[in-house]
């Protein structure tokens, strides 16, 4: 519990520093007290990742790879969607698809849903944690079996998230 308060407090203090961006003693001390209170209030809600975990070189490389991969896929998907919107023929192959997921934790499924939905080709709609599948709406339904569809929607992102989340 004490560690949770500490981790949440450090994250809150980092946000305070970025938002205020003022290095005066009053701001720093007030921010520290406020962050401690936030840590005490939010710690009972659940586990929190230690902020210094991102300093692990292998995890930092995985995070950087995820950011670059997402940036490339976001730009590509947005250009593709802009083309679909502006083309006179409106070339859509939309539909609901169900793909398997390797994620088993709430945090893992949540992160997968958020990151894959940022890539605008696909929007997560629902989760079935019993069958370990995710429901997506896709503007261009991928071809192939379930595994091939997952490779085009969530599997590459899940592999990167698993590298970041490893203990």
């Amino acid at each position: 519990m004490i560690l949770r308060v500490l981790y949440t407090g450090v994250w809150a203090y980092a946000v305070w520093l970025v938002i205020t961006w003022t290095a005066t003693a009053e701001q720093l001390i007030f921010g520290a007290v406020l962050s401690l209170l936030v840590g005490l209030a939010l710690a009972p809600l659940g586990d929190v990742a230690a902020p210094w975990r991102v300093l692990d070189p292998r995890r930092a490389v995985a995070l950087a790879t995820l950011l670059v991969t997402c940036a490339v896929r976001i730009v590509r998907a947005n250009v593709s969607l802009a083309h679909r919107i502006l083309a006179p023929s409106r070339p859509l192959r939309s539909g609901m698809v169900v793909v398997p997921t390797t994620m088993r934790t709430d945090a893992g499924i949540g992160a997968t849903g958020l990151v894959t939905s940022l890539i605008v080709d696909n929007q997560i709609v629902d989760v079935d944690t019993d069958r370990h599948v995710l429901q997506y709406h896709a503007v261009a339904v991928p071809e192939g079996d379930d595994q091939q569809k997952a490779e085009q929607i969530n599997a590459p992102i899940e592999r990167l998230l698993a590298r970041i989340d490893r203990r």
Binding site: L81, I85, L92, V120, Q135
Partner: protein, 115 residues
């Protein structure tokens, strides 16, 4: 104009283009699900380039740059979460996909299980 100014203007132009196409898409797309995806587009490639432009124009290590970073991170979390909530609510309440949609695998699986 300085190089910073030109680069910031270029990012603003990118943001403007994708915001405009997103807005056109919301009107032009045939059902609620594809429209939701067009509204996501106005954030990921619409608002974010404007925030990058702000950080470049005012300096990434300035008050503007730091707040642009916080707003960007919040948008990246809130936007897909809100889109998910709307899409899930629409599907659960039976809002239909358009007639040209190619598959509804959830419906297919339900039919397979009931047979």
């Amino acid at each position: 104009m300085s190089v910073h100014g030109w680069v910031a203007a270029a990012f603003c132009a990118v943001g403007l283009f994708f915001s405009l196409t997103g807005a056109i898409g919301i009107v032009r797309m045939p059902d609620v699900y594809t429209r939701i995806q067009c509204s996501s587009k106005t954030i990921t490639m619409g608002a974010i380039p404007f925030l990058v432009a702000l950080a470049i124009a005012e300096g990434p290590l300035s008050t503007y740059g730091s707040r642009a970073l916080v707003v960007g991170i919040l948008l990246f979390i809130v936007n897909p979460a809100a889109s998910h909530a709307v899409a899930r609510a629409a599907y659960k309440t039976g809002v239909p996909m358009w007639s040209g949609s190619v598959v509804d695998e959830v419906q297919l699986r339900r039919e397979d299980e009931s047979e």
